[in-house]
Amino acid sequence: EDQVTQSPEALRLQEGESSSLNCSYTVSGLRGLFWYRQDPGKGPEFLFTLYSAGEEKEKERLKATLTKKESFLHITAPKPEDSATYLCAVPASYNTDKLIFGTGTRLQVFP
């Protein structure tokens, strides 16, 4: 069964304290992995697409990496404005129109 699992569920960091979020997936034939940021009550905001193991993408304080079974979102020297829920998603094995999302990691960065 296709599945996306994110950990931890919640993460509290001090400003400047770097950390990583994990997204593990079970699908047949990965056709991309997507990271989104979601603020409370709003729609997910697209961050990155990764297609193959070893690929890395960076944007400001965020860097996403991909292996054959999981992806990491590294946050370097976070600021309070990085506080949000981070979601990862993959296309389903036999229905690539459908994105399967994890439940997200809720990140809080304190000054």
């Binding site: 996306v4 056709r31 709003k42 729609g43 697209f46 979601l87 998603a89 296309p91 129109d97 999302f101």
Partner: protein, 113 residues
């Protein structure tokens, strides 16, 4: 560059009623997908529209239906509303159907009482 827009922002309905939600895709996009997001959960795929046809459907009953217009905008209709239909409904657009980057709108918060 106009992003994905959705209307209305919020909606309160009574059990048994019907509701229509609307979505305009990002400029240059031709595919619209609809998702339901319950509190504390990730979005769940409802269906996707491309070339005015429903391509694939998630595990949602026939009470959920949709439509895509020639200008690529889309509607989501939900009949016979249940309390469990209360959620944030998200529209996402992409260029071409399939496993491509999907950009989300701000969502419509539906409350069923």
């Amino acid at each position: 560059d106009a992003g994905v827009t959705q209307s209305p922002t919020h909606l309160i309905k009574t059990r048994g009623q019907q509701v229509t939600l609307r979505c305009s895709p990002k400029s240059g996009h031709d595919t619209v997908s609809w998702y339901q997001q319950a509190l504390g959960q990730g979005p769940q795929f409802i269906f996707q529209y491309y070339e005015e046809e429903e391509r694939q459907r998630g595990n949602f009953p026939d009470r959920f239906s949709g439509h895509q217009f020639p200008n690529y905008s889309s509607e989501l209709n939900v009949n016979a509303l249940l309390l469990g239909d209360s959620a944030l409904y998200l529209c996402a657009s992409s260029y071409l159907a399939g496993a491509y980057e999907q950009y989300f709108g701000p969502g419509t918060r539906l409350t069923v009482t």
